[in-house]
């Protein structure tokens, strides 16, 4: 294993962290975010006006990395760019594992001096095998160890999503919005300019990381394209990979003399590459979270046939349309299923076909929901189940009779335990959103994959299948 890779591993599993250059004007963003760190936290700051504020946070401050009495696994460097090379040299001299350069103003500016500065720190880091993350990035978020770059990020628990982001904002938003949806990270890397370590390096890390079950990637461009293509292919064959490719390239003006070259637009090539590698593409953050949620909280479907369950006729139609559009077959159930349904289903104000229009049947007797789910589980024509629960009608009732919602959740959870078929639930934000939110939180707490619209549920299930199918 190379020094670089070993050092990256140290940084991603740190016992000791130092922050260089945090300051009041940043709200001591780094030191505050790292209050939750389970290991030893240090500060390096020579500006005397800042030291009192740092010590008030209960963090020991030193004049240089060399003076810190412990070996440092991970350093965050928040100094102006002219000073960055000095800090990088200090990191090397002190045997630091990995360093995040939060500092920006490097090659992304396009200025020749800035590019030269970036080249300098790149060659310093490469020469020593220092795992330099960035520059121009937020670095690492490791919830289990309380390593954060924002005070709202989760800590004290471990998720299983490895997220790699070329953008700090999208990395941050994934961790926060993901957490609000019950999707948590094992580790997250915002890698910015990626001069020493870029996307392929982090994919290599996450595919071997036992704490990571699914990998998400936000990417705009790569330096070594063929290496990225090979890496993506081998990683996606082992773990599900979900890719959000950002940045429409400016239309090329290079002269082409063949149809092929004229048609080979950047976005078309990227999409082909993702498909070729067995990964799956998403277009935005919500979709990234939706698909990962489906990968984490549903079982793989053995086919493309879905059984649909809705509370009203209108919702049945909408549910069917959404799933058909996303490539699912909505078949007739088996004769045996219809015979069983005929015994108890209330066809006044309801119907059963596939979809099942079931509100009346459940209201009569809530245990009928278990019967319906059992029929879906046993039916040989069905590979997956999607259910909508109409918060619009039920929101106030759940408020008055919370046990009704609990019963519903119990039935869904029982299905999840007994059945090998994936289940997704659609819960629209209702007119009383706070009540729908409460219901959603309860579904999430039971690891039931829940989505705010039919289209999002169908799309998530479809794409989860794709992401999983390449990975054995």
């Amino acid at each position: 294993m190379s020094d670089l890779y070993a050092n990256l591993q140290r940084a991603l599993n740190p016992s000791t962290i130092a922050v260089v250059g945090d300051k009041q004007s940043l709200g001591f963003m780094w030191l505050n975010s790292l209050k939750t760190f389970t290991g030893h936290l240090y500060s390096v700051q020579v500006d005397e006006r800042e030291i009192a504020g740092i010590e008030a946070l209960g963090v020991a401050n030193y004049a240089s990395l060399a003076e810190i009495p412990e070996r440092l696994d991970y350093v965050i460097c928040s100094v102006p760019r002219q000073i960055a090379p000095h800090i990088v040299k200090d990191c090397i001299a002190s045997g630091v594992g990995g360093v995040t350069l939060f500092t920006s103003g490097f090659a992304e500016t396009g200025e020749p001096e800035a590019i030269a500065l970036q080249d300098q720190i790149e060659s310093l880091a490469r020469g020593a095998g220092l795992a330099l993350i960035g520059p121009n990035c937020l670095g690492l978020h490791i919830p289990k160890l309380g390593v954060r770059f924002n005070v709202d990020q989760p800590h004290g628990m471990a998720g299983s999503v490895g997220f790699v982001s070329q953008s700090g904002t999208h990395g941050m938003n994934f961790s926060l919005t993901g957490a609000a949806n019950g999707v948590y990270c094992s580790k997250l890397v915002s890698f910015g300019n990626g001069v020493v370590l870029e996307a392929a390096d982090y994919l290599d890390y996450f595919v071997e990381d036992d704490e990571t079950a699914v990998i998400g990637l936000y990417i705009e461009g790569v330096r070594d394209g063929p290496r990225f293509a090979r890496t993506l292919r081998s990683v996606a064959a082992r773990k599900p990979v979900v890719i959000w490719k950002g940045g429409q390239t400016a239309a090329g003006t290079r002269a082409t003399r063949s149809h092929t070259a004229s048609l080979a637009a950047d976005q078309a090539i990227w999409e082909s590459l993702v498909r070729q590698a067995g990964a799956v593409s998403v277009d935005h953050l919500d979709e990234m979270i939706d698909v990962i949620k489906a990968v984490l909280f549903t079982k793989p479907a053995q086919g493309q046939r879905v059984g649909l369950m809705a509370m009203t006729g209108g919702q049945s139609v909408a549910l069917t349309d959404a799933f058909a559009k996303a490539g699912w077959e909505v078949p007739r159930l088996s004769d045996e299923s219809y015979a069983k349904l005929g015994e108890f289903f209330n066809v006044i104000g309801g119907s059963f076909q596939n979809p099942l229009d079931m509100a009346g049947t459940i209201r009569e007797d809530p245990t009928n929901l278990d019967r319906l789910l059992d029929i879906m589980n046993r039916d040989p024509n069905i590979d997956a189940v999607a259910m909508e629960i109409s918060a619009t009608f039920a929101a106030h009732r759940w408020e008055r009779k919370p046990q009704e919602l609990e019963q519903l959740l119990d039935s869904l959870q029982r299905f999840g335990k007994r059945s090998m078929k994936p289940l997704v639930v659609v819960l629209h934000p209702a007119h009383v959103e706070s009540l729908a939110l409460g219901a959603r939180m309860k579904l999430q707490a039971r690891n039931i994959a829940t989505f705010p619209s039919f289209g999002r549920a169908a799309n998530a299930l479809t794409k989860a299948q794709i992401a999983r199918s390449a990975a054995h």
């Binding site: 293509a229 082409t256 149809h259 092929t260 070259a261 048609l263 080979a264 950047d266 082909s272 070729q276």
Partner: protein
């Protein structure tokens, strides 16, 4: 493995191979192409046509004339020596009329292929990912309809199979109206051959096989364009 034809063209300072040269290079790589030879004058055209067998197709062979069919540079379905002679005269007159400065090497002569389903297979070099192959339904509308699929070289067998099936027009290849189902294995084989070709020939930057005619049994490239690195 270096190609003498490519080296000779580069030696001449040319970046675009003629159709005759491009097909010869591809034939070296095992890709099925219609046998195409250069005739420097009308008598040679008749000799070649006699050898290849009628009906034949004549096309102007001149670097400066790129959209040959648009400018009277292509004559199809020539059934005998007299037809070849008359066609040769028309082609030369058209070339003289539309591009009098063009240096004309002669005309290419090839057998007229049977009708088949037209597909396009091509290669280009992506600045980020290197050589990329393209597959689509061919014909003049390909750049408008954009019903194409891409894969990054090197291709695995399953990539070739998947990219063919990915295009929206795939049902045409499964058999449509009078056309029988196309020989998909033959098309996959061409894709795999071009994947190796792209790796073996870094000096080739762009390549179009358009159209390839796909039959129930086999497929053949009827036109080919190869662009070399400057």
């Amino acid at each position: 493995m270096p190609s003498q034809i490519i080296e000779a063209a580069r030696g001449d300072g040319r970046a675009v191979l003629s159709e005759v040269e491009a097909k010869a290079v591809l034939a070296e790589a095992g890709v099925p192409v219609t046998p195409t030879r250069l005739a420097h004058d009308v008598d040679e055209a008749v000799v070649i046509a006699d050898e290849l067998g009628y009906p034949v197709v004549l096309k102007i062979d001149a670097d400066a004339i790129t959209h040959k069919s648009d400018s009277g540079g292509v004559e199809l379905d020539l059934a005998g020596a007299d037809a070849v002679r008359a066609a040769h005269q028309r082609i030369m007159a058209a070339a003289h009329g539309t591009a009098p400065e063009a240096e004309v090497r002669g005309v290419s002569v090839q057998p007229m292929a049977n009708p088949g389903t037209e597909v396009i297979i091509g290669m280009t070099r992506d600045p980020q990912f290197g050589p990329v192959l393209m597959f689509g339904l061919g014909g003049v509308l390909v750049e408008v309809l954009k019903d194409v699929a891409f894969r990054v070289v090197p291709l695995q067998q399953r990539d070739a199979a998947e990219m063919i099936r990915e295009i929206q027009g795939f049902p045409v290849l499964e058999g449509y109206r009078n056309m029988p189902p196309a020989d998909l294995a033959a098309l996959e084989k061409i894709l795999m051959q071009l994947s190796s070709f792209a790796e073996d020939h870094p000096e080739v930057t762009e390549l179009d096989l358009n159209p390839i005619l796909a039959y129930g049994d086999g497929a053949v490239a009827v036109d080919a364009r190869i662009v070399l690195a400057e």
